[in-house]
């Protein structure tokens, strides 16, 4: 029991430490890559190639004055960034980063926990993650903030449906809700090959769910002047920012596990034990890069376009996909 506790606590510490580090450097990567796409340099002054920029930003966040607007709802205003970042970090608890390895004669599995309802847990936390953004905009007593919050709520409720429906076809193919088992069914054919439509839909819905361009309606600089986080400053703003990137990375990891075969190479090419974690990381990196790339490429959709896309295209397509998958799965069985 004590062994188990110590191992779990160590794993949690390592995973969250690494996650926060990766979050910090994803901001650097995004700014540099966006810079390249927009034919400018991006941050390259602090340290070699601007590598110390995240550190400088963090320090700056700590030392800036923390302003609470006079008519804000104080409790909710302070609570909102916390509500935003906690679920974002908690998602990582069920994600398997690789197989197991031996250390000091103990078998260490490369995940914090393997619950058999991992997928549902992720969906549940995604639902809770909305509160931070919604309440942040509402509590700051600002018109732009409130509009951002309302848009977030509407957008997330709409896309959560399509997201959930897309997952059903993946679950039907894999026959499990546990991420580890879903990964283990993809040793030969990744789910991206078996379920190309689901992969495509999940990518779009995922982007909408984490409020990423082209679905960054809650922020929409041009019309809402940054939306829900307009009144936030210093570390509270930084927490929203970190939550956003934590969501980005978790989405990349979830897609890797669900559709890109986790730590396995495609077409049944055997993956040596040592390569498993690097393979997983490489896939996550490609996805994160894709998310940055598409941010630099696609213009933002209009609010009504987002709603129309979600309800009139993605959801019917997801339903049709479930139907087709059902027919094929029964026919094969």
């Amino acid at each position: 029991m004590l062994d188990f506790l110590i191992e779990s606590i160590l794993k949690v510490l390592v995973v969250f430490g690494v996650l926060l580090f990766v979050v910090a450097y994803t901001t650097w990567l995004e700014r540099r890559v966006l810079g390249r796409i927009q034919v400018r340099h991006g941050p390259n002054r602090v340290g070699f190639q601007g590598l110390l920029q995240p550190l400088a930003d963090g320090l700056k966040g700590f030392f800036k004055e923390d302003i609470v607007p006079a008519n804000a709802d104080k409790i909710v205003y302070v609570l909102a960034p916390v509500l935003s970042i906690v679920p974002a970090l908690m998602i990582v608890a069920v994600i398997p980063f690789g197989d197991s390895f031996q250390l000091f004669g103990r078998e260490i599995t490369m995940r914090i926990t393997d619950v058999n309802v991992a997928l549902l847990y992720i969906l549940g936390l995604a639902g809770l993650g909305e509160y931070g953004v919604m309440l942040g905009g509402w509590a700051s007593n600002n018109r732009y903030g409130l509009l951002g919050s309302l848009r977030t709520a509407a957008q997330m409720i709409s896309y959560e449906l399509a997201l959930g429906l897309t997952l059903i076809s993946v679950i039907m193919v894999s026959g499990s809700l546990s991420l580890v088992e879903i990964v283990n069914t993809q040793t030969v054919w990744w789910n991206a090959f078996k379920q190309p439509l689901a992969f495509f839909l999940f990518l779009i819905c995922g982007l909408a769910e984490i409020n990423r361009t082209p679905f960054d309606m809650p922020e929409a600089e041009a019309e809402l002047a940054c939306g829900f986080n307009i009144e936030y400053s210093s570390m509270k703003f930084a927490m929203f920012f970190m939550a956003e990137y934590a969501h980005l990375i978790s989405l990349a990891m979830i897609i890797t596990c669900l559709f890109l075969g986790g730590w396995y190479l495609p077409f049944g090419i055997p993956t040596p034990g040592l390569l498993k974690f690097p393979v997983f990381l490489a896939k996550v990196f490609v996805l994160v890069f894709f998310f940055i790339w598409e941010r630099g490429t696609f213009p933002r959709l209009r609010y009504d376009q987002i709603m129309r896309l979600g309800w009139k295209w993605l959801m019917p397509l997801a339903l049709a996909n479930i139907f087709v998958t059902g027919v094929v799965v029964t026919a094969v069985a």
Binding site: G127, A153, I157, E160
Partner: protein
């Protein structure tokens, strides 16, 4: 240790419940309710009901409460409307119901807890709470009620759209 965690969740659930009643601001009430829902989800998890835990988070704490918060924000109800001090029918009825609830809760205590272990042991709970077990029961033994419930929900959905369509 399980018991200690249970009491933490239980305390949060009760605090959330009290918060729902006492908060003057509707958003604070709704948030307290979210707290209660999440604590209940934790208690379900402690009892090995993983599926119910996930659904509680997804449906109640996530979707339904988001909608409630959304509506409160849209209507912009900042504070409760002027309090009615009058003892209306609703208040009396509510008090009677609350009293009945207390009686229902106290009766088993008064009858005396026997202390004998029931049928729901740790092993049974672990088996019963799994997704596999639940879905098997749902799609074999309880298939008809399940289908009827889904039709009922669909009727509700179509009805809501039909009612709203008139105003669009």
């Amino acid at each position: 240790m399980t018991l200690a965690i249970f009491f933490v969740f239980a305390a949060f659930a009760v605090l959330g419940g009290i918060g729902v009643l006492l908060a003057r601001n509707p958003i604070h009430s709704a948030l307290s309710l979210v707290g209660t829902m999440v604590s209940l989800a934790g208690i379900y998890l402690l009892h090995h009901a993983e599926f119910i835990f996930a659904i509680q988070l997804m449906v109640y704490a996530g979707a339904i409460m988001t909608l409630i918060v959304f509506v409160i924000m849209l209507l912009d109800v900042r504070h409760e409307e002027a309090e009615t001090e009058r003892l209306g029918f609703a208040k009396v009825f509510g008090m009677v119901l609350a009293g009945l609830m207390v009686v229902v809760l106290l009766v088993p205590l008064a009858a005396g807890l026997t202390g004998k272990p029931g049928g729901m042991t740790e092993e049974v709970l672990a088996r019963v709470g799994s997704v596999e077990f639940l879905s098997e029961k749902l799609f074999t033994t309880y298939l008809l009620p399940f289908e009827i419930a889904s039709v009922l929900l669909l009727v509700g959905l179509v009805g809501a759209v039909a009612l709203a369509k008139k105003r669009l």
